[in-house]
Each structure stands twice: as C-alpha cells, then as structure tokens.
Subunit: 257 residues, 2 copies
DNA sequence: TAGCTAATGCGTATGACATACGCAGAGATG
DNA sequence: CATCTCTGCGTATGTCATACGCATTAGCTA
C-alpha cells in the first residue's frame, strides 16, 4: 500500500539486502530479521507451510505475536524471506563453463533445495524476484544464458522457462509426498489410485490417448524407476534442447553470415 | 480425509462427471452444483479469487452460507470446480492434425481462457487433474503428443511442460495486471520500477549479467512490443522445439533403423 | 543529570473466514 | 398416517492477520 522506502520495496526486503541501518534512539531490538526468518523455516520444515502463522512463529521465538510486525510488515513478507533463506547463495558459475552444463547444475541444485524444504515450492509467487538470494540465482542463470550468446530478451525468457519448470516439478513431488503422508500409502499405491480413478471416470472410446497412457502403466513405472530424477531430467533436457535450438541458430547467424 | 465414493474422489467431483444420481427421499434441492460454481466464477471475475469466500458465494445466490456444504464438502472443491468450469471443453484435435500446430492451438486457447479469467492461474494445484474438462484438455494434448510418436512417459512429461508453462505465463500476466491496478500506473511504469529497484540493489560488478539485461531495457521493451504475446510465443516455441528434438530422434530411430 | 523523544515489545480488539453440529421441515415410502 | 432420509440453514467455535495504542527503554540534548 505505502512505499516505505527509497526503492519502493518493503523495509524488510531492504533490511535483507543489508540496507537500512538501525536507528540510534529507542531500546535495543530483542530479535533480528534473520532470527525470525529462521524460526519460520523451522516451523515450515516441521509442520509445513500451512502451519506457519504469525503466532506460531512468535511462539517458536518466545515472543508475542505482534512483536514480529516490528520486523516484517505482513506475513507475506516473512514467507518471501523464508523462501529466500532456504535457496541460499547461488551456485558459482565459472566464466568458461559450458552454458548447458551450468544450467543443469543450476536446476539440479535448486531442485535439491526444494527437496530439502518441500514447502518452498508452495510459496505463491507474488512478483518478480527482489530478494537477495533469488536475485543472485537469477544472476547465475543469466550468466549461463549470456555465455550461450542469447539476446537479453531471450535470456529472460529462457530463465523463466527453467525456473518455472523446476518449481512445478518440485511442487509435484511435494504433493505426491503429501498424498502419501495423508493416506499412509506408498508412492506406488497413490499413483495407481490415480490411474484407477481416471479409468473409472473415462471411457477408452472418448479418451483413447489418455487410456493409451494409462494402459502403459506410466504411473506405476514412474514408481519403479530406479531414478526418481527421471521425470525431472526429461523435462529439463527438453527445455535445454529447446534453448539449444536458438543458441545454435544465433551462433550460426553470428558466425557464418 | 474420508473416501466418500467408489472412485475415492469427493462427491462433488463425481457429481461434475455426471455420476451419482440424486436420491429420491428428501426435499428437492434448491440449488445445483453448476449454479454454485457459476456464482463462484461471477464473484471471482468481479473481485478476484481472493474475494471468493463461502459466504460471498452464498450471498450471490441468496442462500445461507452453510447450504453450500450440501453440494461441496470444502471450499477447495468449489475452487477446483470453478477452474474446471472456466477452461470449458477442450479444443477438438483432428487425427491428422500436425502435432505441433495442434499443441500451439491448445496452448493459445488455454492462454485465452486464462486471460479472460486471470484468477484461474492463481488456483493452487492440489493434485493431478480429475475434473471433467481438465481431463478432456489432457486428452486433447495427449492426442497431439501420441500422434507425434512419443512414448507414453514422454507424452506425459511433455504435457506437463506445456501446461505448466501456460500456467506460469498466465500468472505472470495476471500479476502484472494486478500491480498496474494497485498502483494505477501503466505497464511501462510498473516494469521500469522493477528495473530501477534491481539497479539500486545490485552493483554491475557483482551482477554483470543482470545489469546486461537491465541495460538492454528488456522490461521497457516488453511494454513497447507490438505483440503482447511475444514472450508467450517465445517460451512456447522453445518448449515445442525441445519436444521436436526427441520427436525427430524417435521418428528417425523408428523409420531409419 | 534531567528531561525529551523516537523506537520498542506487546496486550487488546476486530473482523474475516472455514466449517462442525444439530434442528426443523419436506416429502417419498411403507 | 408413520417413518426415515435428506434438505436448508442458524448457531457456535476456533484460527488468523493485523490495526491501535500504551508503557517502557535509551540515546541525545541542555
């Protein structure tokens, strides 16, 4: 609602960047932003993002609920900062690193984080990245894409593609895990339940392609697959193949003609 | 929590599929699921998904809040069905249609829906599609991918890629529109504000690739671009290029060897 | 050293909201 | 007519985010 600062960003975000010295006047602050964010992460790790409430986080810290609002102006800011905290610093990208392997590493590390903190994929995106670590990750990916020779607009478009893919894949995994936890069943059982549901709801005549997939036992397969990463790698490779097509085109145009 | 039905799906979902005849005994139902879902859509179209509450929807229909729970066992079900209602029936895919142009049409029509109901992109994905129209859309896309000669697992993986991309693109657009509405500024202003924020927070030495993009005025460009679809088409083409790579590989292997 | 004043932690209060529970009436079946 | 199921819905509960204001703290000034 109100532009709090010079950048137009919430004070807590600027604080996370290290701007905004604390004033000299009043009593010392009993907490720090980092402490609060860490407490939020602890709660989310333990009981999921749904259990993160202002009062729960305050309780975790042994302070009153309203005290948190001296550090964060809304819950959404807390959650955003929690997301920033768990991705951590971006992977280092060497200048001479192959763009594709760099992006693979980028995506894999991001995925690893998401597996460590499944709730992080549930955080609703409320705007472009403005938080320190997420901007650092952005920089890392852009370095790869720039090295690949893409134009700025293409870099941004490609980055979006990769990020969103990792995100959605992580969300999928986390939902599968949640369904397993809720039902107490194995991954295989949960997936085959889905197959059964679709089979009961749809006829093979009206839904031939769907039944083609169901009959192939795809969902069961995905459980038996040695590599849990198989789906992830497939999607990632598809996206990178797609990017490679224009990389090749751009390079050819720049070199050949 | 409880498996209500034979399929294990909530009663309202089965109802949406046309299963589950209404019982003969009690009073006639005053409402229908469709009516309720339409009322929800009306509210969301008018004031956004955030304004959809059980009481608000009930008010829209002139009934009491709790009455809705005779048709829907939780708000989440309502929202899921609202999402299903707005995507509507899937586009028809001719059997001899080129897989790629079929998917382009599929994605464009889905995007058109999302632009008509921006809130639909905000709906949290809580599991695989089980709702009638969304399964029909799934079928439509699978037909294209099957026609392309992909294996079932590849079909599913590719479908995921396209869906999630459309979804995230729609969400991005809707958030941009929301930011414009909130600030009263133009698209150009909102985007250049973001550029300014990043410029103030990051130094060109630490963030060379980022500044490369910022200096190119990418965000401003995207506002001046004649085609608002430009970003959408870029990402979509990238994904389809990526799919095409394995289509070609598969076809070559099947035909040549 | 005695204020002055900004900043702090936090108690209280408000207003949404989802939803459990149970009742009174409807209406088909026996 | 009696019964039993299903209806709409009033009431109540518990959770939450957050606005507001007060008492307290502690650096700065005189």
């Amino acid at each position: 609602m109100s532009e709090n600062t010079a950048t137009g960003l919430p004070a807590s975000i600027e604080l996370a960047w290290g701007f905004r010295e604390q004033p000299k006047k009043g009593p010392k602050r009993a907490l720090s932003l980092t402490e609060i964010v860490e407490a939020g992460v602890t709660v989310a790790d333990a009981d999921g993002l749904g259990s993160v409430s202002m009062s729960r986080v305050a309780q975790e810290l042994g302070v009153a609920t309203m005290s948190l609002y001296r550090y964060v102006s809304a819950k959404e800011e807390l959650v955003t900062l929690m997301g920033d905290a768990v991705i951590g610093p971006a992977p280092a990208i060497a200048d001479d690193e192959n763009w594709r392997s760099g992006l693979v590493r980028w995506a894999e590390e991001q995925m690893a984080v998401a597996r460590r903190h499944p709730w992080s994929a549930e955080i609703a995106i409320s705007g472009p990245p403005v938080t320190p670590n997420s901007v650092r990750w952005m920089e890392a990916a852009l370095r790869c894409l720039r090295a690949a020779g893409l134009a700025p607009g293409q870099q941004l478009g490609s980055l979006l593609l990769v990020t969103q893919f990792v995100r959605s894949q992580a969300l999928l995994e986390s939902q599968l895990a949640a369904a397993m936890r809720a039902s107490g069943d194995t991954e295989e059982t949960v997936l085959s339940a889905y197959t059964r549901q679709l089979s009961m709801l749809t006829g093979p005549e009206e839904f031939p392609a769907l039944h083609g997939v169901l009959d192939a036992g795809v969902f069961e397969m995905s459980a038996e697959g040695q590599e849990p990463d198989e789906d992830f790698r497939f999607g990632l490779d598809r996206i990178l193949d797609g990017i490679e097509v224009i990389v090749a085109r751009t390079t050819a145009a720049g070199t050949g003609t």
